[in-house]
Symmetry: C2
Subunit: 355 residues, 2 copies
């Protein structure tokens, strides 16, 4: 090892609407001395893969706007859920070669924990007993934030009701949270009619492969009409809010359940994309809605069992994965953008380096 | 008794927006022979008072629009929760002079159950042991639909959480549901900070009298700013939806609870009044929302205890009432309209005849 160029993606400018690669985010290179960079009791991580998640748009905002997640300070490296290997360690919990999951900087190499200005609220690092045969990247999606969100919230908030339900509707169903929910719901109740919606022909193919009984291309079909034909909906897993939520509200069962997992229509659009017009259906149909943020509240209680249970389902082929790979940190900005424009097919993952 | 003129309010025309007295509803008189009108095994009721509730707008709609409550057929008498006395009876469950609560026609006298075209889903009739000293009209409000809705839903959905909560916000707080919720919440947890909103100076006076710690005249003040100053809100009782719900969503606690009781902003306006823009806060703050319709689901379980418990609280002065009285069925249309325009102060009740 020696002094090398260390690729880094910094948060350069608050986006007014969409993330613009090269403007909102900038790829730079700085020298790093892998042998001698001070660890200050921490570790040096070689980054393997980083997750691109829709919520990252919320972290890229003016810090005067209060929100559930911390901002990335301007000029600092982005960070998010990712995986890597330990290169050097002054921390007795880690040794060189360990495979780790954590909140990792968008850098090829990074010291963890970094300097104070890079230590955000979500910082954590955990050694993982990686299952043989599984790619590192799966730990950023199906066995990462997306899978953990889907598993914990469905298991705690929806599983019991699903046993006596007939119809489940999942929006954003071709994304890594959506496909996990569809497949896990099928495991919990094989008799469910599962309706999935997504926004491209390629995504509709995914929905068919993972076993959706009914598919909706919301850009080309009338979501409300299809829900009316195949409903009423007992459980709606909402990844979108906006117009799709409105269509679902008009087609819910009495005493139906909505799990509010995300609002990509709001996160991806300033203004009208987030409008909901049919909220009055909530009282008229005695609907219960449960919002959740990964890792908080009741759903978090089942996270300790996640790796054991989910890894088994993955190895059995019952929970499947698809990846949209972005190669190298130079493509990180694009990876962050596509999850809002919907151009990706499969989990957007930044492969920082092949193993 | 003899043949007399029987005042009746019929549903004359579907409203396109607001209820227009004399157009949407029409007062007519028809002969009725009180001694000889056939009862067909039922009873003849002398109507004392009828409730005017916002949801009646939903019953006055084109029947092609599916909804939680049945329509009133055009040309038929309106009906709603009301009280009366039994004049004649062929039903062994009732005898002349009995004080009854039921789903009663907007008629001075009516046969119950009426002809098939007047038998809607909600039809019921119950004898009530009326508490000495209480006016008949209270059984259309504080001890009627409004009180039963407030008591049952707060008790089942919110009471337990209220014990560990600091701030409750109630919109439409000067109405009969709102005042009951405010006063009952205070009984459940005397330490709650209670914020109430309403739309006139007279209503704000009511909020102060019933013990709201903070009041908001939403037509003159910035709801969101006041909620921000006095929040975050642990429990929001939503009678309005729309802009007030949006202000609440931005000021909820993590793991806050919203009880969705009504959507007067939607029921009272075609179009933009019902728009909700901040639904994404539901997942970002891990909010739970529970919608309910009176008499259905979990809240209905505590209804059997309602009269005993609520009457005691009323007699002790802990639950108070205010009435906006409309005299005679000729004023019924106006009574139905004001609960949407907000011109009433206190429970809108149609006093069909003084006792």
């Amino acid at each position: 090892m020696a002094i090398i160029k260390n690729g880094t993606v910094i948060y350069a400018e608050h986006p007014t609407n969409h993330i613009v690669p090269g403007v909102t985010t900038k790829y730079i290179e700085e020298d790093i001395d892998l042998d001698n960079v001070p660890l200050n009791g921490g570790v040096l991580i070689k980054t393997l893969a980083l997750s691109s998640d829709p919520y990252m748009r919320y972290r890229m905002r003016d810090p005067s706007i209060p929100m559930f997640c911390p901002v990335v300070p301007l000029g600092q490296p982005l960070d998010n859920f990712g995986v890597g290997t330990i290169v050097r360690s002054e921390d007795p919990a880690f040794k060189p070669g360990d495979f780790v999951d954590g909140f990792i900087n968008f850098q090829e190499y990074s010291v963890w924990p970094g300097p104070p200005e890079q230590q955000h609220v979500l910082r954590y690092l955990t050694k993982i007993d990686r299952a043989p045969g599984l790619p590192a990247t799966i730990y950023t999606g199906t066995l990462g934030l997306a899978g953990k969100s889907a598993y914990s919230a469905y298991d705690v908030l929806a599983k019991e009701k699903s046993l006596e339900s007939k119809v489940l509707f999942v929006s954003g169903a071709a994304g890594p949270v959506g496909t996990f929910v569809v497949e896990y719901a099928r495991i919990c109740n094989p008799n469910l009619k599962i309706i999935g919606s997504a926004g491209s022909a390629a995504k509709i193919e995914i929905l068919k492969k993972i076993g959706c009984d009914v598919t909706i291309n919301y850009k080309e079909q009338d979501t409300a009409a299809i829900l009316k034909e195949h409903g009423p909906i007992d459980i709606y897993w909402d990844n979108t809010s906006g117009a799709t939520l409105d269509a679902a509200l008009k087609n819910m069962s009495f005493f139906g359940l909505i799990v509010a997992c995300g609002a990509i229509s709001a996160a991806s659009n300033n203004g009208d994309g987030s409008i909901v017009r049919n909220f009055e259906e909530v009282f008229q149909r005695s609907i219960a809605i449960r919002g959740f943020v990964y890792g908080m509240g009741e759903p978090a209680k089942v996270l300790p069992e996640f790796y054991e249970k989910a890894t088994k389902l993955v190895l059995e082929g019952k929970i499947t994965s698809r990846e949209h790979r972005f190669n190298g940190l130079r493509e990180a900005g694009e990876a962050l953008e596509v999850v809002h424009s919907g151009k990706n097919t499969g989990k957007a993952v930044i492969v920082v380096r092949d193993e």
